[in-house]
C-alpha cells in the first residue's frame, strides 16, 4: 500500500535518515520506535509528503508520490507532534475549519464534526476555546482533526507526549478501536516502548537515522533469543560493582537505573550464583534477581548499548 524505498534525508551536515526502507500494509498498525533524534519525525514528514527526501522514493499503491503527492495526501490524516490547532478558536471552530480544508461541506461536515466530538469525548466542550483545554483534551482534539475526513492511513507522530496517564490510555484505546472497527491503517511513532508494544503489529526501530531492526514484535524479540535479560534490584549501587559488571567478559550489556540494573547475557551462561557473590562482595543489599522476558527496550539496549530514553 505505502512504501518508503531507500529513503535518505540530509539537512546541511546532518543526515537525519539513512537508506530507510519501509512498507505499510492496509489495516495494520506500524510502530516506529526510537529515541529522540533517531529520525522518526523526518521519516514521518517524508511519508506525509511534507518534505522531499534527498534520495529514494515514496510509493502509494506502487506509484511515486514525491512529485505528485495529491493521491497520498487525500488518503492520510496526520497527527503532528505539536498541538496543531488554533488556540483562539473553539473545538468546533477548529474542526469546521480543518473539515473544510479536507473539502467536507454542509451537512456532511456538521455530521462529521459531531461524530468526532463524540469520539474524542469533547461534545460538551465544543464551544470552549482550545486555549482553555487541558493538555490531554488538546491531544484528543489534535487526533480528532486528523480523523475528520476518514483517512485510510492515520499517521501519528508521538501523539501522547506530555499528557496524563488517563488521556494517554484514552488515546491508545482510540487508536486500537479505529484500527479494529474501521480497518484504519496506523503509523505510530513513539519513544515509549510500551505504547508501541501494546499497539503495533509490526515495528521499525530507528537510531541515529538508521533502521536497526524491523519485523513483528515476536520477530524483533527473537533477536534476543540467544540471550537472557537479567534484572537486579537493590536500594543502591556502588561504582566498583557496576565497573565489575561492565568488565565481565560474559555480560554483553549493562544498563543502570536508580534501583535496577539490566544485564544482557548469553543464554548458555548462568551468572546467578556469581552475581549473588558479587553483591555480597561489594556490600549491595540485593532485593531481587530474576530473568525477564525480553522487551523492545531490551532489544534496543542490545542493539545500541543505550536505553530508548537515554
Amino acid at each position: 500500500m505505502l512504501e518508503l524505498v531507500d529513503i535518505s534525508k540530509r539537512f546541511k551536515k546532518t543526515e537525519a535518515v539513512k537508506s530507510l526502507n519501509m512498507f505499510i500494509e492496509q489495516g495494520e498498525i506500524i510502530g516506529l520506535l526510537g529515541p529522540n533524534g533517531a529520525g522518526k519525525s523526518t521519516a514521518i514528514s517524508i511519508l506525509s509528503t511534507l518534505i522531499e527526501p534527498t534520495q529514494g522514493d515514496v510509493r502509494f499503491f506502487k506509484k511515486s508520490v514525491i512529485k505528485k503527492p495529491s493521491p497520498l495526501r487525500k488518503a492520510i490524516g496526520v497527527v503532528p507532534q505539536e498541538i496543531a490547532l488554533y488556540p483562539q478558536l473553539s473545538a468546533e471552530e477548529n474542526l469546521l475549519f480543518f473539515g473544510r480544508i479536507y473539502r467536507l461541506k454542509g451537512s456532511e461536515l456538521k455530521k462529521r464534526v459531531n461524530e468526532i466530538l463524540e469520539q474524542i469525548g469533547l461534545t460538551e466542550k465544543r464551544k470552549a476555546l482550545v486555549e482553555s483545554f487541558s493538555g490531554g483534551m488538546k491531544r484528543r482534539l489534535n487526533i480528532g482533526v486528523a480523523m475528520l475526513h476518514r483517512p485510510q492511513i492515520l499517521i501519528m507522530d508521538e501523539p501522547t507526549v506530555g499528557i496524563d496517564p488517563q488521556s494517554r490510555s484514552y488515546i491508545l484505546e482510540t487508536v486500537k478501536r479505529l484500527n479494529k472497527e474501521n480497518q484504519m491503517t496506523v503509523v505510530y511513532t513513539s519513544h515509549y516502548m510500551e505504547e508501541v508494544d501494546y499497539l503495533c503489529d509490526r515495528i521499525y526501530i530507528m537510531d541515529q537515522g538508521n533502521l536497526i531492526a524491523s519485523g513483528t514484535k515476536e520477530e524483533i524479540k527473537q533477536i534476543l533469543s540467544s540471550e537472557n535479560t537479567i534484572s537486579i534490584e537493590a536500594d543502591h549501587w556502588n561504582n566498583a560493582f557496576i565497573t565489575h559488571l561492565k568488565e565481565h567478559e560474559s555480560i554483553n550489556n549493562v544498563h543502570v537505573e536508580e534501583k535496577e540494573i539490566t544485564l544482557i547475557t548469553p543464554k548458555e551462561v548462568n551468572l546467578f550464583t556469581e552475581i549473588i557473590s558479587m553483591t555480597e562482595e561489594y556490600d549491595i543489599a540485593l532485593r531481587s534477581l530474576h530473568v525477564k522476558s525480553p522487551t523492545l527496550e531490551d532489544v534496543f539496549l542490545h542493539l545500541t548499548g543505550r536505553a530508548l530514553r537515554d
Binding site: F11, T49, I51, I76, Q81, L89, A146
Partner: protein
Amino acid sequence: MLFQLIKKQLLLLWRNPVQIFLLLGLPIILIVILSMALAGFMEGGSPELELKVAWLEHGDEAEQVERFMNEMEALGVPAEAFGDQGQLQMVTMLREDVFQGQDLQEMLELEVIQADEKADILTDSSYSGLIEVPENFTYDMLQVISEQSSEAPELIVHVNQEDGIYSSVLSQILEQFNEMMATQTFLQQNGLDIEIEAMQAAASAGEQVQVNQADPISSQEYYTVAMAVFNGLYVASTIGFFAMRERQYQVFDRIIVGDMSRWLYFLSILISGTIIAFLQLLFLFGFSYLVFQVTFTDVLALLVTTFSYAIAVGGITVLLTAISYRLQTESIIGFFTGIVTSVLAFIGGSFFPIGELSETFERLGNLTPNGAGLTAYIQLLRGSGIQDISNYLIFMAGFGAAMILIAAMSFPKRGSKR
C-alpha cells in the same frame, strides 16, 4: 477554501484584543496626542494670543495734515506732490490698517480712549499696553519726511510689564511700523515714489504666501494620515506573526497535508493583510472624521488611495511570512516591527513632516510606501484629485507587486522542515 482561510485570519485577529488595540487603539491615541501637542508646530507656530490695547490720540490728525499742506503750498510745493491726503494720515493708518486690520483682528482688541481715562487704564492689568499718540505727531512726522525738520516724533507706548509675551508682541508691531515709516521717509527724501499703502500691500502679500503654506492642512489632518500609514505597517507584522505561529505549531503542515495548494495559503495571507490594512485605515479615517472633522472631499480617491496602500501592506505581509518561513525564525518579523517600521515611519514623515527639511528627505520619503501614501493623502486633503496623485498610487501598487514577487520566490515549496 480561500474564503475560509481569510475568515479564519480575521477571526484570529478578532479574538486577539491586544493586537486589536495595537492596530486600532494605539494609532487613535497617537493621533490625539500628536495632533494636540504639535498643533503649533504644524500650523506655522501661531500661538493663540489675545491682546487688549488702549489707544489714546492727542490732537486732530486731519487738521495736522491740512496745516502741513497749507504750509507746503505757501512754500510753493503743489498739493499733488503728496498724492492723496488720506495717505498722509499715518496715525489713522496705523490704527485702522495695522491694529484693527485683518491680520491682527483675531488676536488684538483695540480700544480708543479719551485722555481722562488714561490713569485708570494704566492701572488696569487687563490691558497689555497703551499707545499714546502725542500732540502734533503727524504734523511733526510730515515735517521730517519733507526735510523741514530732522527731529522725528515718537509714539509713547506704555506696556504692562507683567504681561510678558503680550507686551513684547505689541512692541514688535510698533517696531515694524516704525521701520516702515523710516523706510518711507528715506524713499521720499531720495525722490522715490513708493507710498505707505503700497508697502503695506507688499507686506500683506508676503504674509498671504505664508498663510497659504500652512493653512491647507491642520495637525489633526496630518497626524491622522501619518499615524494611519505608520500603523498600517503593523498589520504586516501582525499577520506575519500569526502565519509564523501556524508554521511553528505545524498547522501549516496540516493545511498542506490537507492537499491545499501552498499558493492558496500564500494568497490568503496576502488578501488578509490587504483587507485588514484597508479596514484599519478606514476605521482611523472614520474616527478622525467624527472627532476632528478631518474630511476627504473626494471619497472615491480616498478609497483608491487606501486600497493602493493596503496592497503595499499586503505585499509586505506576504514577504515577511515567506522570509520567516524560509529562515524558520520569527526574528525577521521582530526586526521589522522593532526597527524597519520605525525607520520607514521616520523617513516617510509619520513623526513630523521630514520632507520640509530638504528635497532629498522628501524624495527619500516618497520612496517608502508609507511616505508615498502619506503624501497622497495630504494632497487629497488639500483638494487634489486622483490624477494628481496617480504617481503615488502607481508607486504603492508597484511596491506591493514587487514584494509579492519576491515573496513568491522565497516561499518554501512544501511544509516546514525539521
